[in-house]
């Protein structure tokens, strides 16, 4: 058996999310079936993070074990061929030590959230970003975001279905910037709670429109109460962009 790691890009729109589900297509199932079709048997694919339905990835990392004579490069080509026409692409494939684990060896995860701040409906970016009509004060959003950076109990920003042992996490970075009509939020941490990024972005948008002050955000964080939450930003604006490992 050889342990392989994959770097994976996908459009999350047609999937129920990363994780295999009984009630609809998943990215995990599509990749596992494509690997099986390469002719070396069945395997299970483990990812650095589990994205929700509609959430995209530009560079998800994953691993699996397979007994194959194919080089990583050939294996990548074969998986990509069998993935068609699903909007999933293997952009890199390498051999790793047997104790390397895409999820447990991961020491940092980064997400990007894309907002289009305008009145007109989305066309070329439909299902690729969240349209916010009301004008966003990006400086206010970025300043408020800094209140969330650091070690906190993020219960307020945690889904009821979150399986994490603890709501206490260290948020390394939460930056908000404007590029024309686009507002980009970048988040980095060792790990995130379920729905944490979308919850934080929803709350920052409330700050951006003036519905919430920075103090409201601070109070919501300190309340450690999910019902204090402004709202979740929708999945289509969220991209898993990077998983970090020790060299």
């Amino acid at each position: 058996m050889t342990r392989f790691t994959l770097t994976i890009e996908y459009d999350g729109t047609p999937f129920m999310g990363w994780q295999r589900q009984t009630h609809g297509p998943s990215v995990q199932q599509a990749i596992e079936e494509a690997i099986t079709k390469t002719g070396s048997g069945e395997t299970q694919v483990h990812a650095a993070g589990r994205t929700d339905a509609g959430v995209h990835a530009l560079a998800m990392r994953a691993h699996f074990d397979l007994d194959t004579a194919l080089t990583p490069f050939r294996l990548m080509g074969a998986i990509n061929a069998h993935l068609r026409p699903a909007p999933i692409a293997i952009i890199d494939c390498q051999i790793m030590p047997d104790d390397w684990h895409a999820r447990f060896s991961c020491i940092g995860r980064a997400y990007e959230y894309r907002i289009v701040n305008r009145r007109a409906p989305l066309t070329v970016e439909r299902d690729r970003a969240w349209q916010v009509i009301q004008e966003l004060d990006v400086e206010a959003m970025h300043n408020a975001a800094q209140l969330l950076v650091g070690l906190h109990d993020f219960t307020t920003f945690r889904s009821a279905h979150c399986q994490s042992d603890s709501p206490v996490k260290t948020l390394d970075r939460l930056d908000v910037r404007r590029e024309g009509e686009h507002v980009i939020v970048e988040a980095a941490a060792r790990s995130f709670l379920h729905h944490q990024v979308r919850s934080m972005v929803g709350s920052l948008a409330a700050v951006g429109t003036g519905r919430w002050s920075a103090n409201d955000l601070k109070a919501a964080l300190e309340a450690k109460d999910r019902t204090e939450l402004a709202h979740n930003a929708p999945p289509e604006g969220l991209y898993f962009v990077r998983a970090k490992y020790e060299d």
Copy 2:
């Protein structure tokens, strides 16, 4: 009657192109029908340029005449509402003088062509860019592109269906740059021949892969012969980005 101008963004994927066709949906027809549904009668919409099937627009300009009591802002909202769920958005609407013409008053047009230069299939950018697998030498492409800038007979880069009176045009700008795995070509001119941008990009890609030298490109231009053409780049990478008018 009031003359209105629209600035329009659209995803060209589901359309036969801008121009109304008997055999399938067009952007023009969708907008004309949406205007009719605002309740002020029928009208014809004239665009600054006619894009082909699959070609996108970030800021197409158009005009039409309508007898309506709606302000431009309300009219824009009504048209957008009636356009749903078509991937077309009116991003601006203004009143113009009766002699202003989206096509004939236009003194400059700009296109952007997006290439993704990598081996892996496209996912989030599917139908939004041209995937070129072989590595592109962007400096060679940009240098060769400068041979096309200026006043030339562009017969080589002209579709057999081109309706322009003359193949002689002045190309103001043709820039090629790399942003990571993306290669962006920007083209600007008073006007373009049918398929000119896609033909030029296809030829520049031949230079980028080394199949053509800059001299081959020069010889093709000077041959004034369509059969000298490398090939057309596909429509999904092309975006109409700007129409310029006198103030």
